[in-house]
Amino acid sequence: MPNRLPLLLGAAALAVALILLPHQLSFSQQEVLVFLVINVLVVASYRLLTLTGEWSLGHVVMVGVGAYASALISKQFGVWVPLSMVLGAAVAGVVAFILSFPLFRMKGFYFLIGSFAAGEVIRLCWKKFRYPFGGPKGLKSIPGFPDITIGETTFAFWNAVNFYYLALIVVAVALVFLYRIEKSRLGLTFHALHWQDKLAESVGVNAWRMRMTAFVAASFFAGLAGALQAHYLTTINPTMFDVEPMVYVLIWVIVGGTATFYGPILGVVILTVINEIVLRELGVDQARPLFLGAILILSILFLPKGLESLVPKIGGLWKRRNKDDGNSPGGETEKA
């Protein structure tokens, strides 16, 4: 058992850094930070699905299902917003459950196409039906997260910094759940389905049911991310959930890598920082998708295993420099 102390110290340092971070940023960067935290949950839940080897093109639509459901539940029925967020996430899970009946008859490329078609159908239904989904203009004046008063101070959640802390807590709890799922027996079964699906089925794993479980769980957490987004922006429309944000999710996940839990999170954090802060500082607003595409191509060419493959190498370098004893040259290698 390695010494746990550096890990704990690192986690504490990270927590302090995350708490202090928004106060160092400009107003627009605080907004970006809120969406970054929400997107971390989107990519982390997407990874739960990619564990089973299936790549979906409907994940952002699941985010939208959560957003629409939570917005409608709180707006039409006056349900308390924290409760409606959980209900919205649950609705996304139920939709995923229903969709898994037709979709998991397919595998691989066909699942990719099928999930795209199903997602587009759902999205076009929001666009088509003015009641209750509001048509192409979407929903407006969604109730925000209620203020929390602790002692003398009141936290209002229209404020980007306060909502950042809320999102941070929700996302951290969700990440703990996702991590536990991945490390449990269930997560190992997902791995088995990814690498050896025929073998896994031959020892009695119900492949359809396992894929369905992964899809439902991933959609639940995606829906939670969507609910956070809906109650922060207080307005949502179908265009927010079309193919373009889905392509961004794919870029984040591919550049970050999917072999480890932190890979997609690394991808979304680094690419958002590059996209929103570095490229904006350089003044190339209009050409930012060009740079992102170039980064995607370059990372596929030179870093096919994603940014996560750099982490053990850096760790190995660090160890060798500290201890120069020569054993474990590659550091602790991840088993993919």
């Binding site: 099928g114 078609a117 587009e120 159908v121 076009l124 239904c125 666009k127």
Partner: protein, 71 residues
């Protein structure tokens, strides 16, 4: 919809790698799309096209004229 989505639907419905399938699927898709647009509206037509693709994917993933080994 962009042209790319339309092309995609036609390729899937016709069967990947099948030229005659693409021709037949293009005529079929164009007819359905125009028919629904005339009697309902454009968004419903898009939904119908996607549902057509979904149904083909579920029932016969090889497409109308696809060969078996592609499945």
């Amino acid at each position: 919809h962009g042209v790319i989505v339309t092309a995609f639907i036609i390729i899937i419905v016709g069967g990947i790698g099948s030229l005659e399938g693409a021709v037949v699927a293009a005529v079929l898709y164009a007819f359905v799309h125009t028919f629904v647009t005339t009697f309902f509206d454009g968004t419903v037509a898009d939904i119908t096209g996607l549902l057509l693709m979904l149904i083909v994917l579920v029932i016969k993933p090889t497409g109308l004229f696809g060969t078996k080994e592609r499945a």
